[in-house]
Symmetry: C2
Subunit: 328 residues, 2 copies
Amino acid sequence: MTEFWHDTPRLETRMREVESILIDAIQDPGYPLAQETGELILSGGKMLRPALVMIGSGFDKRKRRPAREDQRIAHVAAAIEILHTATLIHDDILDEADFRRGIPALHTKHGVANAILAGDWLFSRSFRLVADYADTKSARILSRLVGSVCSAEIRQDLGKFSYRSSKRDYLRTIAGKTAALFSLSLHVGASEAKVDPFTTQQLRRIGYDIGMAFQIIDDILDYESDGQTLKKPVGNDLKEGLCTLPLILALQKNEAGIRPMLAPGRPLSDPEISSIIAQVSASGAVEEARTLARRYTDRALSAMASLPACEARRELDALIRKLILRKY
Amino acid sequence: MTEFWHDTPRLETRMREVESILIDAIQDPGYPLAQETGELILSGGKMLRPALVMIGSGFDKRKRRPAREDQRIAHVAAAIEILHTATLIHDDILDEADFRRGIPALHTKHGVANAILAGDWLFSRSFRLVADYADTKSARILSRLVGSVCSAEIRQDLGKFSYRSSKRDYLRTIAGKTAALFSLSLHVGASEAKVDPFTTQQLRRIGYDIGMAFQIIDDILDYESDGQTLKKPVGNDLKEGLCTLPLILALQKNEAGIRPMLAPGRPLSDPEISSIIAQVSASGAVEEARTLARRYTDRALSAMASLPACEARRELDALIRKLILRKY
């Protein structure tokens, strides 16, 4: 899982530490599904969020950081990955998704009941790491985040199959469900390493912009993916009744052509989905969505210029290039 | 909701503070189901767990506690009630329960997806209060607790409809899902108020025993309730495929008579349930279960003799009498 980071060796080393903390953290002889739930965590995610924590912590100006502090920060990074996985497990139940990271979703294998508990168990593992290793400030920020993710998810869930989301609704939702955690990861890393307030604030903004760009591109790929790149089939969001940016923009351009295909409250058939995807592509909406993602990315890159030149900045730059720029 | 405490006026006053903190804590303009989820919290539970926190905190020897510390402890008590409600909401999904505290369960009204998120949102609200108000030690204990509750629930869930639980399995499950939180509530209250270690330790044990007795009696009532006392119908556990203490003990006494009615993996019909309840009653298992509950209660009462005589001890005594002794 750490191969993604091979071109930034310092980060790669730190990510191996996070990985081994994760392996330890999910041991629990008392919990019958610990093994299976743990596999999901270790099953090939890029561990973006912990990477952002580690990068954020790299902006401190000290020549050497005590090993104990390094360890502490790696534990907080692991807590964030566990928290993220908990939300994914509950998310997959909500979305009735069959697969996650190429393996069967937990609820398809063990039923909804056990998947709910698996997510709860991970929440508890995550908060346990936070309580044991994070400083009070980070603990406060993290506990608030879960609320923001839930609010965003529930708003998204309530709007399903209505196809009435505005661009503003959409941006608010992805801010809550994706950008908030990216932002928080950089912020918490910096704050735990006592990075100066200006840099910490900049990192928080950059994290937000990276998260927004990342989610917009993810949603674009659902209109373009060949079913391999993302390990998920194209048209998945439409299948779930979600109205993401490409569709929102396409409706603005060609409401008359597309709206009649969207019957509120009814799932779309496969031929309907193909036809909507074709219309969305024809409308130029995908390019427009890409332009918006690019705007977030450019803002992140230009804010980076104000950060001190250091290894962490190079790592952040590499991350943006691999994660986002490559996808345009 | 505070009427239950009218015979212990000091506690009643403190519980009103907790109640008003709860009302504040569940405000969230960004969360679409805040109102409905909040109603569940305020819908007539006795708030036993926060009461235990307040009682535990009453064992400090100081004449007067600073008002700020009182407020802090009341917030931690509120956090525990919110945490408990979060687990109830997820529990009701697992058990496919239609009602909770006499009102429709959240998942029957808003669907499983929104109920999962409502529970998650409450977890986040609870951890937010903990991060803001609890000391690090309490935060650690609380984060561990959620894991223990999940493990117990999942063990119970995996054993459903097998009717093969032993008395040992049963005691382990109720220790994790009920007694742990009772124990922790007294413990956290005492620890937050800096009560001496011996008393704190005694309170932890007493909380455990009260919790065990409480759950055993709750499970007995499911074989006896008239459908009014607990706002839940009799035979509910059997309907859910659960094998609780009365059935376990009855099987020990009359395996040949009862086992043939329990087809593994298949839900029981209403006539089957009535017939099993009759057999369980005839076997004397209910009295035996009651004796065990009484043993836990007696141990709690005798441990109380070693606690300093004070208002809090009188409150704890009153709680045990109202909650448990009255039910024998």
